[in-house]
Symmetry: C2
Subunit: 323 residues, 2 copies
């Protein structure tokens, strides 16, 4: 059997963490032949709950799990890790302005970025799930100057999956018939779900659905899906976010020829400002996401992409003192 | 691709249900080549939450999921199902006596047994997870006279996994080095975790650990593990129970040569009263659990098995009017 992969998960006792750990531990992320070590980070008040979660992981007798470490110290959590899934973040509290939120999370991701820089394996793959994911990722990346910026990514896979599912429902097709669909920009309500390059059984999606449905129903539905889940369930997406995180890492490690969406360090592709963590249509080869080239973008798409880019630049400006 | 398997899950919006559905839908239970239809039952006050859960299942764009039905009617939920996972049950409320609990659940499992009898596929495999699982299973089975009693089982796989994990920790071995371990009797604090037939790397487990540790620490730790989880986590086992349910059904369908534990309809094996739903060491071949024969049982084991049998007979007597 292969050497164990060391995986850090932050916010491990939270709702997403709880949904995530058992899927990782069962082999759903890295395969049934890959032993793993889990390194779980929580804030001090959640350490008791985390111990309970670890007891449940033990109670599964997962053959792949070689070791579980729990800690409230990022330097301990990230020691030698191959993969870091940064799930924990400060949620928006009552009366908190957007800048307060960026600030509170800025502190967390500054500390975690430094700890990753100093303690993680140099090849570490870092996925940021905790919101605001793109800017949290940017902060962590800037605070880890010794790591390749390509090691950092933010999750837009949940938006991607939502976009696939909604299109599949509309056209009455199977999800595997859809290809090329992607999310551009920020994991926020400005994200742009792009159907221009999407096909259903090889036919252009925008030949099947109307532009009006696309603009007036589909895009808002994807952008506001998180709020709709909260309204129905009484709490925010957890299992579907965990599933997306599993798939993001699985595709990052194992590769994918199908187009998926990842927030990655922009080197200016499609005219986007360099150095943002920006979601693009990507494929993945040998552990490296590659932005799909030569996508056709009309004025509508270009406008949407510029809007989400503008939001990311604003967020970056708001945390400029941390970069 | 094969025909879809129709799977009913009751209590689908509860904590175990929430942990369970995404693992089923991802293919962890029946494999990545087996499309599925989910038929989800909840009580009327939980239907909104259930819709939220279904939205999250949609948001995963699982290729295997062909259809999701939600209902508060058992007859609808069980229509044509191949597998029924009865997770929902009435928990013990403040001031409820054991007989109140048996009575409240008796009503639920009587109705569900009748609905399974009249609507499920004749080959349906029914797993009862909701407590008191063995007696709930017995009630459902008795109310489904047209189904083979062998179609019904109660879950002791979580106890089994806990027993494996605790032994593996004690001896410092890997979980896959352990074989032959099993849980006898009732899924309750009288269950008997049997190390007599257990081996670690081929060596008898009871040559490695002392009888004192086995009796005074190990058995009580397994029997009281559920309470320990509640104390640490602040809520009862959910993800580990869901994992055990996934494994129980996976092994029931796909078979296993390794010894596992399942509460099944007793035909009197090892002198146990016939017709109880009793957990035995089993292997599974072509969808049929087979009790491991000729296990050596000393007086200690025999006494433990009789005690858990006596409890199951008491429970059966308490619900005799439903049988």
């Amino acid at each position: 059997m292969a050497d164990p992969v060391r995986i850090a998960v932050t916010g491990a006792a939270g709702q997403i963490g709880y949904a995530l750990l058992f899927r990782i531990a069962s082999g759903a992320m890295l395969g049934n032949d890959r032993p793993i070590e889990l390194s779980l980070l929580e804030i001090p008040p959640a350490m008791d709950a985390l111990r309970g979660v670890v007891m449940e992981v033990e109670d599964c007798a997962f053959p792949l799990v070689r070791k579980v470490v729990t800690t409230d110290q990022p330097e301990v959590a990230f020691e030698g890790v191959d993969i870091a899934m940064l799930v924990g973040s400060r949620p928006r509290g009552p009366g908190m302005e957007r800048n307060d939120l960026l600030e509170a999370n800025g502190a967390i991701f500054t500390e975690q970025g430094k700890a990753l820089n100093d303690h993680a394996a140099k090849h570490v793959k870092v996925l940021v799930v905790g919101n605001p994911a793109n800017t949290n990722c940017l902060i962590a990346q800037h605070n880890a100057p010794d790591l390749d910026p390509a090691n950092f990514s933010a999750m837009t896979k949940l938006d991607h999956n939502r976009a696939i599912a909604q299109l599949s429902q509309k056209v009455g097709g199977a999800v595997e018939d859809i290809d090329g669909l992607a999310i551009w920009g920020n994991h926020s309500s400005t994200m742009f779900p792009d159907l221009l390059g999407a096909t259903v059984n090889g036919q252009s999606a925008l030949e099947i659905v109307s532009q009006a449905w696309y603009e007036d129903e589909y895009i808002p539905a994807i952008q506001q899906r998180g709020a709709a889940i909260i309204a129905a369930r009484g709490s925010s997406s957890a299992a579907s976010a965990a599933n997306a995180a599993v798939e993001h890492v699985r595709e990052w490690v194992a590769g994918t020829d199908s187009v998926t969406s990842m927030g990655i360090y922009s080197s200016g592709q499609y005219g986007t400002a360099e150095g943002l963590i920006f979601s693009y249509p990507v494929t993945v080869n040998e552990g490296t996401p590659k932005v799909v080239e030569n996508r056709e973008l009309n004025d509508f798409a270009q406008g949407k992409i510029e809007a989400t880019e503008a939001e990311l630049i604003e967020e970056r400006d708001a945390v400029a003192h941390l970069l």
